[in-house]
């Protein structure tokens, strides 16, 4: 286990390749839920949980079912001549895994915290169509991370997403008192501020970890 590698992945996913400001994944819930600090934190926690779980589960599914590895279930069970390459099914299988996970998280939140469930409202089922979740699983496959690296990457991506949401929610709560030009109110000013925060995050891309 190379701890330094994990640290690099984590710092990279939180700051350098922040999912919202650098990779631009997960923008829809970002502008949707960042209106209030409470729901921003709730959404951040839910997304972090789903991202971590999805990374781990998708890795298992990918290695044992889809990729042409020696441990592929179809290879070991059915005695095929060589491991089958089912990676073209990645997208379909991953999205199903994510949909099932989100359903599970929704049930847990509904049971444990009805108030949080109410404030997250429509956005909880929408985590399924949050491109950050499918994005992280696909990036994991592209980068050929192992199980622990996948989980750390998913978790760090979630933290980065939460930081972005909370930053934005803090600004937007103040912004309600500001005198914004009529046409800029709501979404437009949110995007321009996101652009300015992203510019600040661009500074991290100079960061070198060795």
């Amino acid at each position: 286990m190379d701890f330094r590698m994990l640290l690099i992945i984590a710092i990279g996913a939180i700051f350098i390749n922040n999912f919202i400001f650098s990779r631009i994944l997960g923008t829809c819930p970002y502008v949707g839920v960042s209106g209030q600090l409470d729901s921003a934190i709730g959404m951040g926690v839910a997304v972090t949980f789903v991202l971590t779980m999805a990374s781990a589960v998708a890795y298992v599914v990918y290695t044992w079912l889809l990729a042409p590895t020696q441990v592929n279930i179809f290879y070991t069970l059915f005695g095929l001549k060589k491991p089958p390459d089912l990676t073209f099914l990645n997208t379909i299988v991953f999205i199903l895994v994510i949909a099932a996970l989100v359903q599970f998280v929704e049930m847990v939140v509904q049971k444990t915290s009805p108030s949080l469930y109410k404030s997250l409202g429509i956005y909880l089922p929408l985590i399924t169509t949050n491109c950050a979740v499918l994005g992280v699983t696909l990036i994991n496959v592209n980068e050929k991370y192992d199980f622990v690296e996948c989980s750390v990457h998913g978790f760090a991506a979630g933290i980065g997403f939460t930081i972005a949401l909370v930053l934005m929610a803090g600004i937007r709560e103040k912004l309600q008192l500001a005198d914004v030009p009529k046409a800029m109110r709501g979404l437009p000013i949110t995007f321009i501020m996101a652009g300015l925060i992203a510019l600040a995050f661009l500074g991290f891309s100079g960061l070198k970890i060795n």
């Binding site: 829809c28 199903l96 030009p181 992203a198």
Partner: protein, 199 residues
């Protein structure tokens, strides 16, 4: 001319990106050059039309409770088709769009239209709706990527516009420029609507 009015409705009046603020991630992420924008727009249009038609065909068979997973599987199937087709026929574009081709699955425009339109309307109406919304998405991408490529790179479709002395504003080619550009475009659209309303 009902056919054309159904389609033009998606391009401006109900434009999925500019008016409904859907499908923002791909809009922001792949709009750094015009060719990327058009490629992404047409790929998403293909998926949108096919999934709309298929979902409208099976809408009476689908049980209400599990309709979302079924829609997602239908969409994911068509995305896999376009994913493999693009990897085969336009490998350069495919490489530049990267993970955003498989991410068409989670483009909220497509699931949104399946849920709001195709699940309740006839096949023909859903087909027209798919074309209109798809072209609307492509149009929005075209506008944003034109602005970003001209300012951020000094080119249009790869052709230099300003000669050698032009210093491109890198800011617009990077992620922050995407946010700022779409912010101003949304503000402009809102301003136009306000003016129309005032008259």
């Amino acid at each position: 001319m009902a056919f054309f009015s159904d389609i033009t409705r998606g391009i401006y009046e109900d434009n999925p990106v500019l008016k409904q603020a859907l499908g923002l991630c791909p809009t922001l992420a792949v709009s750094s050059s015009v060719s990327n924008g058009i490629g992404m727009g047409l790929a998403a249009t293909f998926v949108l039309v096919c999934s709309n038609v298929l979902i409208a065909m099976i809408r009476k068979m689908v049980p209400d409770k599990i309709r979302i997973p079924i829609y997602i599987v239908v969409i994911a199937t068509f995305v896999t088709i376009i994913d493999l087709a693009m990897a085969g026929f336009v490998p350069d574009l495919y490489k530049r769009l990267g993970i955003f081709v498989p991410l068409i699955v989670v483009n909220c425009i497509i699931l949104g239209r399946a849920e709001a339109f195709a699940g309740k309307n006839t096949v023909w109406a859903s087909f027209k709706d798919g074309i209109g919304m798809g072209l609307g998405f492509t149009f929005a991408l075209l506008v944003i990527s034109t602005i970003r490529e001209i300012i951020g790179n000094g080119t249009f479709l790869g052709i230099p516009l300003f000669g050698a002395g032009f210093e491109p504003v890198m800011f617009f080619a990077l992620a922050p420029g995407a946010f700022v550009t779409i912010g101003f475009i949304l503000a402009f659209v809102t301003w136009l609507d306000h003016r129309k309303g005032a008259k």
